[in-house]
Symmetry: C2
Subunit: 198 residues, 2 copies
């Protein structure tokens, strides 16, 4: 049940070394979960997409659920880093940076797939405390990032506004999934300006 250490460097001990890149395989699994959801993704499709056999799969990740957790942790780290970078690269001024942030949250490179973590929260969190906790940490990190961008001097005073901005962007993910035209999504995000000032 316990997955062996994923990040084990090629060790000095004997034995055949792993014939695949665990992170690359994890990325492939992540993409499939992102595209299809957790329950709808079968072991066969998963191992095929990851390019490894069932044995390697279980030896390396322990279970289907284990792959999901590992993939979500990786996704969260990558997404938060990318988010912070885009906010940093945006033109100066809190307002422009928040706009950039919200657009990135509303369109996390996933096209109509939305945000992997949000999808998994919706699908699994009510019955899976581990996923719920992971999702909560991610959302709180996003809230904190928005708060720091909004009011660098006193981020904790901007917490409620930051959370509302995050919720607005998260809500547009649902709108987009339902097929709402992009220009309406943009117009919706533009309303965020009203939420930025205390």
């Amino acid at each position: 049940m316990t997955a062996p250490d994923l990040h084990a460097e090629p060790p000095a001990c004997p034995g055949r070394p792993r014939g695949f890149d665990a992170e690359r395989a994890l990325d492939a699994g992540l993409q499939l979960f992102w595209r299809q959801g957790y329950e709808a993704t079968s072991l066969e499709a998963l191992t095929q997409a990851m390019g490894i056999s069932r044995s390697s799969f279980y030896a390396c990740f322990g279970s289907k659920h284990g792959v999901l957790v590992a993939a979500l942790e990786r996704y969260s780290a990558i997404a938060l880093t990318a988010l912070a970078a885009r906010a940093e690269a945006a033109e100066a001024g809190p307002q422009a940076r928040i706009r950039t942030l919200l657009e990135a949250i509303a369109d996390p490179q996933g096209g109509p797939r939305g945000c992997l973590l949000t999808n998994c929260i919706t699908e699994l969190a009510p019955h899976d405390p581990e996923i719920a906790a992971l999702g909560r940490r991610h959302l709180e990190a996003i809230e904190a990032l928005i708060a720091r961008t909004l009011a660098p001097a006193a981020p904790q005073e901007a917490a409620d506004r930051a959370r509302a901005l995050a919720a607005l962007a998260l809500g547009t993910l649902t709108l987009r999934k339902a097929g709402m035209p992009p220009e309406r999504i943009t117009a919706t995000l533009a309303q965020a300006d009203a939420l930025m000032h205390p």
Copy 2:
């Protein structure tokens, strides 16, 4: 594949009449989909919850997917009616009514299960045009209801603000599913005030 008419009244033709209430059964199925999601709900669990046999199930609804569609249409109608009623019953004034509406959207009697339609949009819409269309109609109806409440005189001018308010409430569904404390949800919805004025 085509489901027989669900709303067939006890007809004048011979034959044994249906031994169960189709709407009651549909409600039971709806509750299960709401609690578990679509893919995670098996035929056996579904028929057991609905209190009917597999034969009756397929004779009456055609398929698992057919039950989902019928349940979602029913859910949408009921939810929109309840939403309009609650807005009507709230204390007068657009602001108070919008608050009531958003709270109802953010907590559609589902506890941590959120909104059935939103759940299904997230899980299925990208691969299921029928569900996507159904979800879009529901979301647009909510947007229109908010717009009418916000600016009865010129609802179409309030469309963007109304959609942003809806998105804000939809976003809090994700926050709640991830286990965010209720008082923060409330504080988030309170920020909606800023979105109400043009």
